[in-house]
């Protein structure tokens, strides 16, 4: 298969992803798909940090929360239109990521895992702290209005939010693809695989590590902002440690070292809990855990790596 062919297929796929749901999906299903895109972006941010940057972050939910709250506060207190909150959310979470990336340099591995884990626990507590309560709404959170379609487009809010979210998602996925193929991306992978060699080759370890952390936070933050717009509500309880763990699951299920893996992971974390619930109302969490472990057994490198292995086999067979 030639590259232009596969690019064409990809474009076709994106167009289909936009059009087919608009025609066939109900508002509820569109909402689910919107969440998939928002989570996919967040998992993508995690993939950049962990899969490409080789740093284990357990607290990506904290960036999701920061992105979501940035969007919500701007909309609620400053009457900023929803679409304009995204660049701000990107910048804010990116900055927070960079600031946290700095100690991350000094503390690799487990220590970074601790710092990020702690961050995921601490952020909801900070969100309801009395000093910020006027902005964050404290424990009550902030309720948002659902955006209507602009320019008189004949779309209902669900359809519009989905299209909008998908468009932002596609742009950022393309950006991420270019990022990992760029000099930065190559340097990142060099650092991940051979830190000493990379350093010897003149790759500035610390700068790139911090950068990855910042980029990862940025992607996750935009995902959070989109999620907040779709859900129409943010509160400290929306962003408990469970969210971070969910994003982590999305990463390992999808495949950490891949861009497309983020989509598979997001599909998993949105739909598999519903499946688990169908199987047993008594122990949905345990069923989810079993499914997760089974995936680890049969696709330890994630769905993306399983698929690409199948693809290779398929091509080899031809």
């Amino acid at each position: 298969m030639t590259q232009s062919n596969s690019r064409f297929l990809l474009i076709l796929f994106v167009v289909a992803a936009a059009v087919v749901p608009l025609v066939f999906a109900s508002g509820y299903q569109l909402f689910q798909l919107t969440l998939v895109v928002a989570y996919a972006l967040s998992v993508l941010g995690k993939n950049l940090v962990t899969g490409y940057g080789g740093q284990v972050s357990l607290g990506q939910g904290a960036f999701y929360a920061v992105g979501a709250y940035t969007a919500a506060i701007l909309m609620e207190h400053f009457n900023v239109p929803y679409w304009a909150t995204l660049p701000v959310a990107a910048v804010v979470t990116g900055m927070v990521g960079l600031a946290l990336g700095l100690p991350a340099l000094r503390l690799g591995g487990l220590y970074l895992a601790l710092v990020t884990f702690a961050m995921a626990v601490a952020v909801p507590q900070l969100l309801k702290y009395k000093l910020f309560e006027n902005w964050t709404g404290g424990v009550q959170g902030i309720v948002l209005n659902k955006p209507d379609a602009p320019f008189g487009l004949p779309l209902d809010p669900d359809q519009w939010v989905y299209l909008f979210t998908l468009s932002v998602g596609v742009v950022l996925f393309v950006a991420a693809t270019n990022l990992v193929r760029s000099r930065i991306g190559l340097a990142l992978m060099a650092i991940r695989d051979q830190p000493l060699a990379a350093e010897a080759m003149g790759v500035e370890l610390s700068r790139y590590k911090t950068l990855t952390f910042g980029f990862g936070a940025l992607f996750t933050g935009v995902g959070g902002a989109l999620g907040a717009i779709a859900v129409g509500f943010v509160s400290p309880d929306s962003f408990s440690i469970a969210l971070s763990l969910t994003l982590f699951v999305g990463m390992v299920i999808g495949g950490a070292s891949s861009i497309s893996g983020a989509v598979y992971g997001a599909l998993f974390i949105v739909f598999v809990p519903n499946l688990a619930e169908e199987i047993s109302k008594a122990i949905p969490g345990a069923i989810f855990g079993v499914i997760l472990i089974l995936f680890m057994f049969f696709a330890p490198g994630g769905i993306a790596s399983l698929l690409s292995a199948q693809m290779r086999r398929f091509r080899a067979a031809r």
Binding site: V15, V121, V139
Partner: protein, 400 residues
């Protein structure tokens, strides 16, 4: 050729976006033989302890169906897991409303979760009945005519304690400890509303804890050090039990008003040690299974019979089952009153027109609602732990 067809198809799709018919009829989720009721609750995640409420509802509607249903209709009760995650609640509630097309939502659990769907269900005009949360904001028929709570609000309870302290212990130096979330904050606000400017004079120390803390021993030490002689606590049973035990151990004996959430003998008093809790004040609206007073109570026996038959494996000491049993009575009563008119308007109208007794509520407390009264249960009664039982005193108190 092929490519062109595909593109043409896409063009057609864009030109004629799918337009969904507006909800023409307001009778949704009802057939001659069935009515669909939607519900969400955490069956997974950190708050899955509440899952028993959903389990109880499912069992209760099974019982109703076994007995022939309500006005000849069986109840199709669809209860979904939201893991106490507001985003998931929105997803599940939208599924219930848009895909399963339920007639109404009943007893959706949690403050943040209900907040997330509050506006949606009111825009959609879906009855959002008898929520499983003690926040005060659900009683707002003017702005949110489709939402109604059930239990007395934490806010009200806070006010009751404030008044009790003023009357029982004038000049009290009080301390407050609350869980740092919407549940705890409501007590703080209730106390503030009742005491107004006096709050800062009466309360000399206010502390919080997080639901994820391991212990609150440190807070108890600080509270004692503050010199307070009165304590209001808005904690879940685990921390109330720790609080009672630690206060006793360090020889601190304040007048202790404890949130109704922790009034369970099985979950709070017994773990803490019944002798250590003597004198603790709480307030109740439900009967407590482990309270000897209700050993042969008709209302409680009815509940016990239900438990024995339909949830034999359930933990009888879990107050969640009693709560669920009470809330579902109001649901059934509403549907009975609806008769054959199960339009959403009528369901809401009947939900706001209740006056019935519930066997698991304390004597003198009943459910009553009206077009402008969205507080189904307004009364509570103060109780004092004697070492063996909760002794009710001072008559039934209504919220102001």
């Amino acid at each position: 050729m092929k490519r062109r067809t595909v593109l043409a198809g896409i063009g057609a799709g864009l030109a004629m976006p799918h337009i969904r018919p507006a909800e023409a009829a307001t009778v949704v989720g009802v057939t001659k033989t069935e009515i669909k009721i939607g519900h969400t609750i955490p069956y997974s995640g950190n708050a899955s302890s509440y899952g028993v409420i959903g389990k109880s509802h499912s069992a209760y509607f099974k019982m109703i169906n076994d007995q022939g249903g309500i006005n000849g209709r069986k109840v199709n009760f669809i209860s979904l897991d939201d893991a106490y995650n507001p985003a998931k609640t929105v997803e599940q509630v939208r599924r219930l409303v848009e895909q399963d097309k339920v007639a109404l939502l009943f007893n959706v659990l949690g403050t943040p979760t209900n907040s997330a769907i509050h506006r949606y269900v009111n825009q959609r005009k879906v009855p959002h009945l008898f929520l499983s949360t003690g926040a005060d904001k659900w009683a707002n028929p003017k702005d949110f005519p489709w939402t109604i709570g059930w239990q007395p609000s934490y806010h009200t309870e806070g006010q009751i304690y404030a008044r009790y302290i003023q009357q029982a212990k004038p000049g009290a130096k009080a301390a407050l400890i609350y869980q740092n979330d919407d549940f705890g904050k409501d007590y703080l606000n209730g106390l503030k509303d009742a005491l107004k400017d006096d709050f800062n004079k009466v309360f000399i120390k206010v502390l919080t804890y997080e639901a994820t803390d391991a212990t609150i021993d440190s807070q108890v030490v600080s509270l004692k050090e503050s010199g307070a002689d009165t304590l209001v606590s808005a904690c879940i049973p685990k921390f109330s039990a720790q609080l009672i035990r630690k206060a006793y151990d360090i020889g601190w004996k304040p007048l202790h008003c404890m949130s109704n959430v922790s009034a369970s003998v099985g979950a709070t008093i017994n773990p803490a040690g019944p002798e250590k809790a003597v004198g603790v004040i709480s307030s109740q609206y439900l009967k407590d299974h482990s309270d000897p007073d209700w050993k042969n109570d008709a209302g409680m026996n009815e509940w016990r019979a239900f438990m024995a038959k339909y949830i034999p494996e359930g933990d009888i000491n879990d107050a969640g089952y009693v709560f669920a049993y009470g809330a579902v009575q109001s649901m059934v009563q509403t549907l009975k009153q609806c008769g054959d008119d199960l339009s959403r308007e009528n369901i809401m109208k009947q939900a706001a027109n209740l006056k019935h007794e519930v066997g698991v509520l304390l004597p003198g407390i009943s459910v009553s609602t009206g077009p402008t009264d969205f507080h189904p249960i307004k009364q509570m009664q103060l109780t004092r732990w004697t070492g063996t039982t909760w002794e009710r005193f001072g008559g039934v108190l209504a919220s102001s």
